[in-house]
Each structure stands twice: as C-alpha cells, then as structure tokens.
C-alpha cells in the first residue's frame, strides 16, 4: 500500500442544475407515447385510426365546404357544382320551414310555436334547476301547458282558460275534502272539474271570438315541431301516470294491483308501432266518421300509454331499492298511505329513478319519428314524403337526413348532459 496514491474523491460543492427530463418523457411526446404508441398493438391501432380519420375528413370536408346553398332544385345544384364533389344544402335553405314546422302551418304564425318553445324553457327552468330559480316561477310552469295550447292551436283563450279553471276548482275541492278522506277528496275534485268543464263548453261555444288567435288544425302541424310536441307532451303526461301505475303495482288491493300489472305487461309486450297503427287505423272504425278526436290526440294517448308503462317499471325499480326501514319508519310516525308516499317514499324513489326516467324520455323522443309510418308529417315524414317526392329534390338524401340527425343529436345530447349534471348534484347531496 503506498501512500502516494492518496486519492481524493471528487466532491461536488454545488448541486447540479436540474436537467430537463428526457424528451420522450415530457410534453406532447410523453402524451403520444403513453396514449397512442405504448405498445406495438396500440401503435398499429393508432395508425389505422389515423388513416381512417384522414379518409373520412378528406371525403367529407370537400363535400361540406363545397356545398351549394342558393339553388332552387337538385339539377340546378348539379349545374353549379359541375361535376365536382359538393353537398346540395339548397334543399335546407328552401325547405327549412317545412322541415321545422310542417308544410301547412301558416308561415305568418311561426312566431307562435317559437314563443311556445321559448316559454317551455322558462317553464322548465324552475323544475330542472330548482336551486337557481325562485320557487315563484313554478306558477309559470303550472300555467304553461294551457298557454302553449293557446299559442300552438289558437282559437279563443276561453278554452284553455276553462281547462285551467277546472283543474284549479278540482284542486280546491280536493283540498277541502281530503281531510275527511283521501278517496272522497279525489272523487270530489274530479267531479267538480268535470262539472265545470261541462258548463264551460256551453260558455265557450257562443264566445268563440274572445281574444281568439287564428286557429290552426292539428292536421296542419308537422316537422320537428311535431316531434318536440309529441315528446314534451307525452313525457310530461307519462310521469304522473307512471308513478300511479308503479304504486298501483305495489298496492295490496288486488284489483288495483292486477289492473296495473296487466296494463304494464300488455303495453310493454306490444311494439309502439302496433299501438300507433291501432290509433290510426283501428280506432277509425269505432269512432263516427265526423268525430273530432283528431289523429294527434289519438297518437298522444297511445304514446303516453306506452311511455307510462316503461316509466312505471323504472319507478318501481326506485321503490324497490329503498330499504324496508323507510316504509316502516313512515308507518311508525303514524303517517297514512298518501302522506308516507308523498313525504318519505317517493322523494327518495324518484331521485334513484332519474337516470332511468331520462333514458326512457330520450328513447321516447326519438321514437316519435315512428309516426311518419302512419302518414303524419313529422321531421322524418316530411323528408320521406313531400320533400323527396318533389320533382326538384328527388334524390337528395345525405343533406336531409344529416340535418334531421343533427337536430335530434343536439336535443338528445342536451337532455343527457342535463341528467348527468343532475346526478352529480344529487350524489353531492347524499354525502
């Protein structure tokens, strides 16, 4: 061992500056490597997807960007394009009003359904965003159905006014009698409303011009407006019926229970299209030829029955998910059936059922296009019937059905986003 080789290890006095991470470990490269090229299989898939995307964009982009918006027929459109690829959006600019309102709704009255649609959002706001809007706005929600009827169908204001008055009177009678017995309150309320409507009929007949808007026949309604009308009306009507059916199915009274079970199982066992044919074709045999029960009303009844059965099953799921203790707790507090349902069971069961209800509503809204099969001119019916059989537009498919798909996507995506937001709200509440 020699002394000479005293080696002093190198000692760094200061800390090295931090080196940047290797290029493949940062920024876009890291993201690419981890997400797109993490394994040979993933690399292949990524490249394949990129190729497919490229093909799609190069195929669709010229078609979209080169679109013609101002011609008056398909042949004129083709002349403008002169062999190059391009969409013929002129059909939308020429027939947009027919696609949205149907071909017979008077154009000078378009403001009425539009106003009704705007008011729909006002009416829904306090229901959908209960914490943001004051509860006083609920009054608007209560008035809305009658107001919308007045706006869309027109006629004297007395008809919807009396209809609303009937509900108010019925409710007041119900409140008075319900303390004696729930059944008596219900029967009394319904009877009072019926009496009022009956005599209201005599009053509105001679006063048909009081504050009358120009009446529009329901046969004249069509386009996306008809889809929205059917969707909104049927979903909102089917909720109360669905709740009643779900409670009826759980009832201990055999007659009510069996009526509910048979109704639900029958309706769920039959395709909607069959029910629509019944509404259109079979009912026509039973009703006198001049009866004024018009097609829209028949269709609304059928779709509402259909939706009620499905919503009843969704809500029954919610009821079944509640622990038995909740029912027993309600009983032990001495609440009667109506009170325990109203105060304890339903608020919880409905909260659980919200995703299911939204699911049924979105499905139902899209199913409203089925009415095109029974010769009603909803959005799809307008496209398949009048527009594609006009000599000018025969042969335009992608543009029209793309537009229809866009309208439905916007609406359904909106509903779905709302329901997700609502679920987040409610889970926070449960914590």
């Amino acid at each position: 061992m020699s002394d000479t080789g005293h080696q002093t290890a190198f000692v760094r006095a200061e800390i090295l500056p931090e080196a940047p991470p290797p290029i493949q470990e940062q920024g876009i490269f890291k993201w690419l490597r981890e997400n797109l090229f993490s394994s040979p299989a993933n690399t292949v898939l990524t490249l394949a997807a990129a190729w497919a995307l490229y093909q799609l964009v190069t195929a669709v982009a010229p078609w979209l960007l080169n679109g013609v918006w101002t011609t008056s027929s398909l042949s004129a459109c083709r002349e403008v394009l002169d062999g190059s690829v391009g969409a013929c959006f002129s059909v939308l600019t020429e027939r947009w009003n027919q696609l949205l309102f149907g071909f017979k709704y008077p154009p000078e009255l378009y403001w009425r359904p539009l106003l009704a649609l705007a008011l729909l959002f006002v009416a829904l706001a306090p229901l959908l965003f209960a914490k943001v809007f004051p509860r006083k706005l609920l009054a608007m929600t209560a008035v809305y159905p009658f107001l919308a009827f007045y706006l869309i169908w027109g006629g004297t204001i007395l008809v919807p006014a009396f209809a609303m008055l009937g509900f108010v009177v019925g409710y007041l009678v119900y409140i008075r009698l319900v303390y004696q017995s729930a059944a008596m309150g219900l029967i009394g309320g319904v009877a009072a409303a019926l009496v009022l409507w009956y005599f209201g009929g005599y009053v509105t007949e001679p006063l048909a011009n009081v504050l009358a808007l120009e009446p529009v026949k329901s046969r004249d309604m069509g386009g996306f407006m008809l889809n929205l009308m059917l969707g909104v009306i049927c979903v909102s009507l089917s909720l109360p019926f669905g709740i009643l059916l779900a409670l009826g199915r759980q009832s201990h009274m055999p007659i009510i229970k069996w009526i509910s079970v048979v109704f639900i199982e029958f309706i769920r066992g039959v395709p909607l299209i069959t029910l629509l044919f019944v509404a259109n074709v079979v009912l026509a045999y039973f009703l006198p030829p001049e009866s004024n029960l018009d097609l829209i009303l028949r269709v609304i009844i059928m779709i509402t029955m259909f939706a009620s059965a499905y919503i009843a099953e969704v809500i029954r799921g919610g009821l079944a998910a509640l622990p038995k203790g909740q029912y027993e707790a309600a009983d032990s507090l001495g609440l009667d059936y109506a009170q325990s349902m109203q105060l304890i069971i339903l608020p919880q069961a409905l909260k659980i059922s919200i995703p299911g209800i939204v699911n049924v509503s979105v499905g139902l809204f899209k199913d409203t296009t089925l009415v095109s099969v029974i010769s009603m001119f909803d959005l799809v019916g307008m496209i398949r019937g009048p527009i594609l059989s006009a000599a000018e537009w025969n042969g335009v498919y992608w543009e029209l059905f793309g537009f229809a798909a866009l309208l439905f996507f916007v609406t359904c995506y909106g509903i779905s986003q709302y329901s997700q937001w609502l679920e987040r709200q409610l889970t926070r509440e449960n914590q």
Binding site: V281, V373, G385
Partner: protein, 338 residues
C-alpha cells in the same frame, strides 16, 4: 270467443260507419270540403310544393271533383295515406275518395268492398338499365342481377316473366325506392325493375339521366285509378263522370283556354251537353249544369294535366304511351255524354 266478439263489434262499427256515410255527396256538400286521400308523396303524382300546396297528377283528380261538387278546386282537405293505411281510411269514412296510384285489382274491387271509378293512368312494370350494358330488350337479360322491392307484386311479376322466357336472374332485395336508387347507381345490380312511372321519376333524379334507358317491354298491367266506397253509387257516379269529363274534354278539344268560349254554346251537341248548355246531365248527377265546366277549368283537360305534371316537358318526362286517347292509339276511351 272473446276474439270473435271483438271482431263482431268491429264489423258492426264498420257497418255503422258505412251507413252513416251513405250520402257521401250530401255529406261533402254540407261539409264544404272534399276529404281526398293521396299518397304521402310520389314524384309527379302527389306532393306538396315549397308553398305547401299539393300538386300532381292524382291531386288534379281530387281538385276536379271538388270543383264539380263544391265549385271550388281548393276546397279539398288532402289526407295523406300510406300503402298500409289507405284502405282503412276509405272504408272508415275518414276520406270520401282515394286518388293514390292504386292498382285496380279483383280483390280490391270485390273483396275489400271498394268501387274503382275509372283509370286515370295505365302503368306497368318495366326495366331500367345503364346504357353501357348494351341491352335493348328485356329478353336479353338472362343472368342479370335485378334490384327488386320485396313483398310487392313486382317481385312475382318478375319471377313469372323470367320463367316464361326461360331465363335466370339474381335478385337483389331492397326495401324502398331510395335504397334502390343507391344500389343501382353503385352498380350492385344491372337492372332495376318497378312501375314504369316510378322508373321514369327515379331516372329523372340521376345526375346523368341520359346514361340510363328504360327497356320497351312492359311485363304487367297496373291500371291506376281513383276509388270510392262500395254501395254509394250516386257518389261513385260523380267521381266516375268527373274523370270521364276530363278525358272526354281532351278528345273533344275542350281546353282550359277555350272552355269559356265553348260554354257559350257550339254546334257540337256532345260539347253542349257536357258543358251544360243543352240537356240536364248535371241535374241527373245531383249537381248543377256547369259541373263539368268547372271540373275542366280546375286544371285543364286530361292531356293538360298529364303534360303539366308528368309529361315530356317535365323532369319526369313520361310519354303518353298507353295513356293516349283511343283516337291516337292509346287506351283512353271515355263513354259518351248523352
């Protein structure tokens, strides 16, 4: 048991509806509008235009009847019907007449209890081919792939035609005309077969119609005409003779241009009887003397209606063919007005 009760009730209701509508002519007059069943849309035959007004060859029949009965060609409530709903709509009394390119067949006339009141278009099944195929007759189609709508009489006619001529074919089943258009243009089939009027309309919508030809053979008879309910002969007569008046007007040279002048009286007795300056034909129908004049003025005579909606100057471009007057070698032959 329950089922038979249900059907009995349904039949009874059907009869009740039929009985209630026994006097269709009076019903229409009292109502002030004619409820006329049309298609939900067929190029050239019935479709609403950009202003929402119904236009077309079948629509013109409705307007003529409305003009004859109600003096107003616009007093028509058009009830769109599909192939599935058209007969129930008529049987239940929802519509007064059906003018919806419906083929006159034995079962529809006899078994379904309807009354065809004439033929306004003689159609027949034909073939369309790309000209590049170099075929000039349907007899040369041995081994061809054929686009055919399933579940229609065209399917059966096609099988019969090929069997009769000892030829083979390869069917490509399709559901709708729209689908057929796409398949045919994409080359999925050599031949597309359906009614000739439908072929013409389909061809008109192609980018280069001149590249496609409709073969001369017609392999089936499809007489299309308006129909009414069985058992109301007065109303049936009104519709039948309104259609006859349109056809006869063309034969007699009465057009919407010269009708005002002819209605003042001519030295041709049949024209005078038709236009009401002689005789009481209108009264016999339960209408007034000017009924036929109004019907013709609504959209012109048969030839004018044809030319305006589906004729050679329109994009559909159908020739008169079988639908020419008998004097021109066609089948149109209105019984005499006397």
């Amino acid at each position: 048991m329950k089922k038979s009760v249900f059907f009995a009730a349904m039949t009874a209701a059907g009869f009740a509806a039929g009985a209630a509508a026994a006097g269709t002519l009076d019903d229409v007059k009292a109502r002030g509008t004619l409820n006329c069943g049309v298609t939900t849309g067929l190029v050239g035959f019935a479709a609403p235009d950009a202003n929402g007004e119904w236009q077309g060859f079948d629509v013109a029949v409705c307007r003529a009847v409305a003009a004859a009965v109600l003096s107003d060609p616009t007093a028509v409530e058009f009830v769109p019907t599909t192939g599935k709903t058209r007969f129930t709509a008529l049987a239940s009394g929802e519509i007064d007449m059906l003018a919806r390119n419906t083929t006159w067949t034995f079962t529809r006339d006899v078994d379904l209890k309807f009354e065809f009141t004439g033929i306004n278009y003689y159609d027949g099944q034909g073939f369309m081919i790309p000209k590049a195929l170099g075929v000039s007759s349907a007899k040369e189609l041995d081994g061809a792939t054929v686009c055919i709508q399933t579940g229609t009489t065209t399917e059966l006619n096609l099988a019969d035609f090929f069997r009769k001529n000892n030829m083979d074919y390869d069917p490509v089943p399709i559901e709708t005309n729209a689908e057929a258009q796409q398949q045919y243009l994409a080359g999925a089939c050599d031949v597309y077969t359906t009614d000739r009027s439908g072929l013409a309309a389909t061809r008109a919508s192609f980018e280069t119609p001149s590249d496609h030809a409709i073969l001369p053979e017609t392999i089936s008879k499809e007489p299309l005409g308006p129909l009414v309910r069985h058992g109301d002969n007065e109303w049936g007569d009104v519709v039948r003779w309104t259609l006859n008046a349109l056809v006869a007007a063309e034969e007699l040279g009465i057009t919407s241009a010269n009708i005002e002048e002819l209605a003042k009286g001519t030295n041709r007795p049949e024209v005078n009887r038709m236009l009401g300056t002689e005789g009481t034909l209108g009264e016999m129908l339960g209408l007034d003397a000017d009924w036929a004049k109004r019907a013709i003025m609504a959209g012109g005579n048969y030839g004018e209606i044809f030319a305006k909606n589906i004729g050679e100057s329109t994009p559909i471009g159908l020739d008169r063919g079988l639908n020419a007057q008998w004097t021109d070698g066609g089948l149109l032959y209105a019984p005499p007005f006397r």
